[in-house]
C-alpha cells in the first residue's frame, strides 16, 4: 500500500512538472510582449524596458525556465502582472472560496443524485424512472448561466429569501451551490441508475431477494454498495471540474473564487497568474484522481493495492 502511494505521488509530481514546463513554454510563445501589456499602451519605452528587466524577460529562455522552476519548487509562482501581489498569495486567498463551493455542490449532488439514481433503477420503466430521466436531461442540457439567473429572480428578487450574489453570511452559498450541483447531480444520478441496473440483475441480488430479504435492504445495503465504485469515479472527476471550472457560476454569483481569478487574469493578459493557476489546477486534478483511486479500495473489497 505504501509503495503504491509513493509511486502514485511521484506520478503526481511528474505530471505537475510536465504541465509547468508546457505552460511556461506556451505562455512565452503567445503573441504580444508581456512587458508592454503590463506597462500599458501609453507607457514609454524606458518604462517597458524596466518592467522587462524586473520580470527577468531580458534573460535567455533556458535561464528564465530554470529560475521559474527553481521558484516553483519553493512554492513561489511569481508576481502578478496585474496587481503586483504574489501569485501564490492571490491563489491562496481565492482557493478556500472555490473549495467551499465545490464541496457543498458535491455533497448536494451526491446526497440527491445517488438516491435518485438508485430509485430510478429500482423502478426502471415506471413513472418515477421517467421523472428522474427528465430531471437528468434537464440538468445536463440547461445552461448554468440561465439556471443561475432564474434562481436569482425567483429566490432573491421575487421572494427575497436568499442573497442574489456575493459571499456574505451562511445563506449566500445556497444559490451558487445549487446551480453548480445541478449538472453534477444529473450526471451522478444517471451513472448510479445504470450501474444499479447492472448490479440488480446479478446473481447475488436475486439470491438475496430469494432468501426473503426485504427489497429496501437489498437495494440500499447490498446492491448500492457494489454499484458505487463507478459513481465515485464520476464524483471525483466532477469535483475536479468543479474546483477548476466553476467559472460561469462564480461570475453569475460574484463568488470570489479561482474561476473568476482565471477570467480576470486572461482578460488582463496576466501571464504569471494564468501560469500559476494552470499549475495549481493540474495539481488538484492529479490529487483528486489519486484520492478517488484510494477510495476504490475502501468501497470495493475486491480492489486492493499491494
Amino acid at each position: 500500500m505504501h509503495a503504491y502511494l509513493i509511486q502514485r505521488l511521484v506520478g503526481v509530481l511528474v505530471t505537475v512538472v510536465f504541465v509547468a514546463i508546457t505552460i511556461f513554454l506556451m505562455v512565452r510563445t503567445l503573441p504580444g510582449d508581456p512587458a508592454r501589456v503590463i506597462a500599458g499602451v501609453l507607457a514609454s519605452e524606458q518604462d517597458v524596458d524596466r518592467i522587462r528587466v524586473q520580470l527577468g524577460l531580458d534573460e535567455p529562455l533556458w535561464r528564465q525556465g530554470l529560475i521559474f522552476m527553481g521558484n516553483l519548487v519553493q512554492g513561489d509562482l511569481g508576481t502578478s502582472a496585474r496587481t503586483s501581489n504574489s501569485v501564490t498569495s492571490e491563489i491562496a486567498e481565492r482557493f478556500s472560496a472555490t473549495l467551499y463551493l465545490a464541496l457543498v455542490s458535491t455533497v448536494l449532488a451526491v446526497a440527491i443524485g445517488v438516491p435518485l439514481g438508485a430509485l430510478a433503477a429500482a423502478k426502471a420503466g415506471k413513472p418515477l424512472d421517467l421523472f428522474v430521466s427528465t430531471v437528468v436531461l434537464f440538468g445536463i442540457s440547461m445552461p448554468v448561466y440561465w439556471l443561475g439567473l432564474m434562481l436569482i429572480i425567483l429566490f432573491s428578487i421575487r421572494l427575497r429569501w436568499l442573497p442574489a450574489a456575493g459571499a456574505e453570511g451562511p445563506l449566500s452559498i445556497i444559490l451558487p451551490a445549487v446551480t453548480l450541483a445541478f449538472f453534477s447531480l444529473a450526471f451522478v444520478a444517471r451513472i448510479t441508475r445504470s450501474t444499479m441496473l447492472e448490479v440488480l440483475h446479478q446473481e447475488y441480488v436475486r439470491t438475496a431477494v430469494a432468501k426473503g430479504l426485504r427489497q429496501r435492504v437489498v437495494l440500499w445495503r447490498h446492491a448500492l454498495r457494489n454499484a458505487l465504485a463507478p459513481v465515485v469515479t464520476v464524483v471525483g472527476l466532477q469535483f475536479g471540474e468543479l474546483l477548476g471550472g466553476a467559472i460561469l457560476t462564480e461570475t453569475v454569483f460574484a463568488w470570489p473564487g479561482l474561476g473568476r481569478l482565471l477570467v480576470d487574469s486572461i482578460f488582463a493578459r496576466d501571464y504569471p497568474t494564468i501560469q500559476g493557476l494552470v499549475i495549481v489546477f493540474a495539481l488538484l486534478f492529479a490529487l483528486v484522481n489519486l484520492i478517488v483511486d484510494l477510495l476504490y479500495a475502501v468501497i470495493d473489497p475486491r480492489v486492493s493495492y499491494g
Partner: protein
Amino acid sequence: MRVVFIKGVVSFLAVLLSFGVAQETFRIAIGVDADTLDPVQGTTTTVDNIVDYMAQTLIGIDESGGLVPLLATEWETAEDGLSMNITLRDGVTFHDGTELTSEVVAWNIERLIDPNVRVPRRGAYTAIEGVEIVDDLHLRILLSEPAPYLAGALTQTTAALISPDSVEAQGNSYENVTRPVGTGPYVFESRSFGERIVVNRFDDYWGELPYYEQVIFQIVPEATTRESLILSGQVDMIILPPASDIPALQANPAVEVVMGPSDRTIFIVINTTDPALDDPRVRQALNYAVDKQAIVDGILFGAATVMDAPMAESIFGYEPIGTYEYDPERARELLAEAGVEEGSLTLDFMSPTGRYVQDFPASQAIASYLDDVGINAQVRTMDWPTYIGTMTQPVEQNETQLHLLGWAPAFLDASQQMQQFHSSQHPPAGLATSFYHNAEVDRLIDEANAEVDPERRQELYAQASRIIWDEAPWIFLWVQSFPMVHSADVTNISGLPNEKFYAIYARPAE
C-alpha cells in the same frame, strides 16, 4: 405542514441576517476588482473612484467638469508657463495623523515622477521637473516646458496624495501601496480579492462628514447580477446596469436611474491612408449615411448623446461645430462626386464586443446604414487584446479600414482628446489609429498645448476641431453616458463627467 415550517425557518434566517448588517452601511456593486489601490498605479476609472474615498488630489472637478479647490485652495501658473504656485488648505490631516504640508506634497509629486515607481499615466506629468517649497502651506511646481493642462492633470486620481510615512506601514512599500492612507472622508478598512473593499468614515475629516459610517464596494462582474442585487435590495447602488434593461429600470419605482455624464466619445476610426478612404468626401459620406440618433434611441436605450464636435462637451476646449445630420441622399451624392460607383465599395469593419455600451449591435446597425448608400461593410469582432494589437500596427502593415473605438481622455482637457488627431501619435508611438495627418491641425494643437492664456487656448482647439470635423477622420458617433442605478430609498447621488460616480454624500431619502 413541513413546507410551511421550512419556509418559516428560511425567512427567519433571512431576517436574522439582515439585522446583522449595520444600518449605517452603504453598498455599491461595481464591475471590476481593483488591480491596485495605489493612486499612482491606477488605470481604470472604477478603481480611481474607490481610491477617491480615501485619498484626495490638490484640485478637484465639479459636476460640469470645472476645476475646484480640494487640498489646494489656490493655484496659479506663472506667466512664462514654467511654474505653478500652489497654496494648500490649512488644518488637513491624513488618516495616520500626518499633517498636510508642502513637504508632503513635494514627496508625493517626486514619487509620481520617480522612474522606479510604476505610473501607467505618467505621460501627463512629464513636464514636471521638481518642487520648490516656499513655506509650510506654499509650494511651487517647476516645469521644463509650459504645461497649461497641468491643473487638469492634477485632478486625476493618479496625483492623489498619500502620507509619506504610510508607505512603510502595514504591507505597503514605496513601490506598491496596498492600503492607501490619504486625507479623504473614508479610511481603508479591509479588502478581499474578487469580493469586496470596505472603507470606514474618518471622523477627523477636514470637510463635511458623510452620512454613512461604512461603505462597501462589492465586486460583481456580471451586469445582470448587479441588476439583481439592486432589485433584491442587497445593495444600495450599482454602476452600469445591462443597457437593454434601462427602460425597465426607469419604470421601476423602487429604483432610480442616473444617467451620469461622461467624457467618453464613441466613434468609428477611418484609416485615412487607405486608398478607398483617403478622399474626405468619402469620409463625409460615411458620416451622413448613419442615423446616429436612431441608434442611440433604439440600440443604446438613450444612454448617449450624439457628438457635435470631435470631443465631449465636458472637456476644456470643446466648441459645438455642427452635426452630420442623417442624409443618405447627400451621402450618395458625395460618393458619386468622389467617383465611387454604387456597390463598388467594400469595407472591412472591426468592432469590439462588450467593451462599450452595446458596441457590437450598434456596429451591425451602422453597417446596415452603410449598405443603404451602397457601401458593403463587413463587421467582424475579436477579443480586446487582439483588437488593440491589430489596430495599432504601424501604417505600412496596418490593413484596418474601419474600426469602432471609445476614447475617454485621462482628464478633461482637449490636449488629451486631440492626441487622436496629431500626426506624432500615429501607432506605434500612440493610439491615433486613423493616421490622420494635417500640418495645420498639428500646428494648432501644438500651439494650444503650450498656450498659457485659456481663451486663446480654447480658440486654437476650436479652430483645429473645425478642420477635423470637416475632414472627418472618424464617423463621429456619440458621447456615451454612464448609467448608475440606486435604490429609491437613498438620495444625493450623481455622476461626474469623467465617468466617476459621486456618492460620498449619499444619505437616506426623506
